[in-house]
Symmetry: D2
Subunit: 343 residues, 4 copies
């Protein structure tokens, strides 16, 4: 099948191109970039100098002729304009931005922009592959999750579902490599400002907060309130969340580990780390794996959940392709069998 | 006055040598290293090739002839052997290890070693300069704090004292550059294992936990239970703690900031960051500053405290010299007026 | 076909496992490690926790039952012991170490060890795929090149062949990420010793010097003398060589570029960068590409050749698999079609 | 004495502020920034939040009232406008940009801008402290050297002076951390574009080339032709040059080392590394040291000179203060006695 990418010059798109170019059932035909239309792909991405793609302008109507599947790697606010027309023409849309992740009023409040209509929101499935596969398989609009919510929900949902964790008071401390900030050109993103530096940002105000709460509630079955503090870590890729909350009485660590092991028994991309192990970002780098771990602290009656992903793969392009595989009925791992790079 | 360092080949010692060599009132006379005795300092530290020091073996008796002040930068378990004799001979000891930080039974439990006697523990002061200055000024044994406790207590103590934070349930998420792990030679500390990697370690079990709880209780005035998760971040220096706990009713963010500003009004090394600012490790790098910030989340009724230090300066050698200054009645900033290096 | 790796716990082996596990014609059956025999692979490489391999002891006799192809990722001196028996049993050996790269007396001088016999040396082909393919296709012992020689020869050989560069006086300035130093545990390889550091090592004495000279002579057709200075750069992967020499009269930059373009017209893994471009290590990271560029300085009559590779892929495991593909008559790119990771 | 900085928001200026604030004989009174006039210093540099400076607009006339000494850390082209008026009013100017380094026609050719008049060029001294001290002591305009020329000339000059190296054909391979590129905001300077990346730039065309040639000629006593290739290395600070050239007959390594040792016998900031040592950038980080080393390769008749500096200290702000000290007759090391930071 033919695929296109809208918003082709960011880091998420570089990963989509890498993955789709080696996907057994997909041909990448079209790259749309409003800001660089007319340029060659290799000008934006010299590491892809062996490829011959021109960056194009486009619109939903003409794009439908070139692609069966459209990935949106553009900023939030673009996909909501293109998706209705594409889906009405029978195309499948996978959106890496936030447009279709929240209900309309929450989107307005946190993103300060106009959401898609309620009808189109109702057509979309949330693309956290491991927990929303049934609706993903049927949807023509898939709202790929944010990078932090992907990691956080992977530990939160099973703990909430079993009542191990009380959703009333969840603290999520996130740490991300710098590619999560995208490729936009700002003084605060210069190498010398980030290298050998570590700091929190948007404390309590990051837009991924309502996304975590919404899907923790839906899939975890508990109304959940999250305090989320993200932090920038001086590395390119990799994201770790550490999730804290009061543990319900009676649970032991082996029991809690068993809950995780069962939850992900059938999931090819989730690895529950060994009892004396912790998730490490380098252990998943370049792959679609999510490594999860858990610790139960008797002293403070707290459960600590940990999850590590590559923010550009399982946190973006990789999960988008995993969702495509689910939607098309292809093997879930098609195009995603590369191992982590180490070191 | 003459100073000596016991355990002279680690990273903390490199900082002590850097600071003491430019201290207006101190002459560094003697460097003790049991493992490298007989070698020249420049073999251990080529960056100090302009200095002429030999690394010596030593014992408390002979050392008292050469030094009025002895810094211990050796592993835990060494200072407790040397301190009694040195102090009986009228010397001042500043210990960067953990021997004198805890009561005996807690030390035994967390450090699996023999603590100093209760008598000698009673002679020591805890060297968190900003909060324990009165006892530091009188003590001949100063237990320099651990790096994580230094940062964590700097936000915890004022919040606990004012009852803003409930000590029953404090979560501390710590992140540290790799120099905190010292210079010992292990596969897991190799460049390629750490670079572009990020991971938690000793979750819930780190030895700094009881130290935080003890001094939060003493100086904060509340019995405090801490869950502490440290994480390794791929950089040399810098440490950030993010402290979470339920906020007491009625407090507003401006009020909480005011509490911090008042607490540190007279402290030359603590900077409360602006309302829209966050502490950043690079903002203190190479200096004895501790930058602190706070956020109050109405949604989740949580207070978030943040503190950044250079783990080798305010978290080790710098605070040790600050304590020496307090003890000797010298200006608190003597030898410590260097600014952060940026970038 | 079944493959084995001898020396399975180093970084080169991690890459071999990554590549071979997704190779369409190879099954990796056996991992030999003398130092960790009996352990599970995931103990050495937690990032491969989804694989079930035990690390085995072994000997050439029993190994021949399990593998048609044997890769040696062990230190120099091992393969020379195993190869004769394996080849006599009809197996194909690809050696990532230096045993089979040099003539016996040069090996003795630079490696201070015993080389294979002249007979066995005569059975081997040098595995610089782009320049020695005819002999690689027929050999049962393939001496995979060193990482620096791979990059250096890729620019040297075409320039020497055309007489653009005078082999009498070639300066090669090499820079490599730290994975080139392997995984052995030394103080000088600790994260804090390498991060934010840059330095030359083994100036004029690096063992890759005679390898460069030998194969520049054979494939470039000129007796060549090389001064080689390698430098460590604080990054995991990536290797750049900058090659300098006096340019022969009459050549212009477009002509020299044309020589490179023609030399690599048919090579799927060599990309000659555009006229205003330079090779960058990140542009090849994780891939088997070698990016080459050239500059001709009129002022100083010097030609500057540049080549960038991923030292663990084209500089080690990737080229080893490329050589296997050549040897077996498979498509040269089988298993090696992954794109560079960016960023 | 009172000092001012023109161009106060770049990385070189941050170092000047750090050094001058602890200088025993200087008071920093005025910070000029055309682009950020009206802002507080702490907005540009949050790491200096404890300082109270406003960034000002200014002109040479009013500035002369506030400062006896003016440092220019602005881009090339600014100081030539300000210096004449300031010097006529009796002020001392130290220029970290290139305006006063070259003769007029060379400046025009390489910098594409208008140089100062020949009269004003004739008033200036080149500020390579170790080799031009006599003229620095008398000049009211000091042209602080570029970072690469500082390191390169420190090995080149003594080798040329003694005829060890033939100036006809010198290759200089430079490597620099990213702070050398300044703080200007470009996509190619983003963290993710530089981290884990290594590449040459401006091959054969870097503006420091004629500066190296000019002062190698003047102080080395030989007309010198340089081919210079700089490379970006993923670290904040640190610069290494590796200098190659044909060695004259008859020299041995011990003799060549002796030449260096004698050349720098009296220089407090130049350390000739031990025979088995190499200069390392981390060994000088944060200090005004320049570490130099040399190797003589019998096989290829080549001499290899190496020099490491902190590009922002000895390569910029530190040497500027060293020059001020020389000019004022203060101790050469005043304000510059800080040791390297390690690690």
């Amino acid at each position: 099948m033919n695929a296109a990418i809208v918003g082709a010059t960011g880091y998420g798109s570089a990963e989509l191109i890498r993955i789709l170019s080696n996907h057994p059932y997909v041909t990448l035909t079209t790259l749309i970039s409003s800001s660089k239309a007319g340029a060659e792909l290799r000008e934006a991405f010299p590491h892809l100098s062996h490829l011959n793609y021109s960056l194009e302008e486009g619109d939903p109507e003409s794009l439908a002729d070139k692609a069966d599947i459209v990935f949106f790697a553009a900023p939030s606010g673009v996909s909501s304009q293109w998706v209705p027309s594409l889906v009405e023409q029978g195309r499948i849309c996978i959106d890496l931005a936030a447009d279709f992740r929240l209900d309309g009023s929450t989107y307005r409040k946190w993103y300060k922009g106009e959401p898609p209509s309620d009808f189109w929101l109702s057509q979309s499935a949330y693309g956290l592959s491991e927990w929303f596969a049934p609706s993903i398989r049927k949807a023509n609009v898939i709202a790929n999750p944010g990078c932090y919510p992907t990691a956080a929900l992977m530990v939160l949902i099973p703990l909430l579902k079993q009542g191990i964790l009380d959703g009333d008071s969840v603290v999520i401390d996130g740490k991300s490599g710098m590619s999560g900030a995208g490729r936009s050109v700002k003084q605060q993103s210069l190498f010398c400002e980030i290298n050998e530096n570590l700091f929190p940002y948007q404390v309590g105000k990051h837009r991924h907060t309502p996304e975590m709460e919404r899907y923790a509630g839906i899939a975890g079955g508990q109304r959940t309130t999250v305090l989320f503090t993200p932090q920038i870590v001086p590395m390119n890729r990799g994201l770790l969340v550490t999730v804290y909350g009061p543990v319900a009485k009676g649970w032991t660590l082996p029991q809690v580990r068993e809950v995780l092991l069962e939850a992900y028994e059938e999931s090819p991309f989730v690895r529950v780390v060994g009892e004396d192990q912790v998730p490490r970002t380098k252990g998943v780098q370049g792959s679609n794996f999510c490594d999860v771990g858990v610790y139960l602290d008797e002293r403070s009656k707290t459960v600590v959940g940990m999850a590590a992903i590559d923010n550009l793969v399982k946190g973006a392009a990789g999960q988008a392709v995993q969702n495509l595989n689910l939607r098309m009925g292809w093997p879930e791992t098609a195009g995603l069998q590369g191992f982590p790079q180490y070191p």
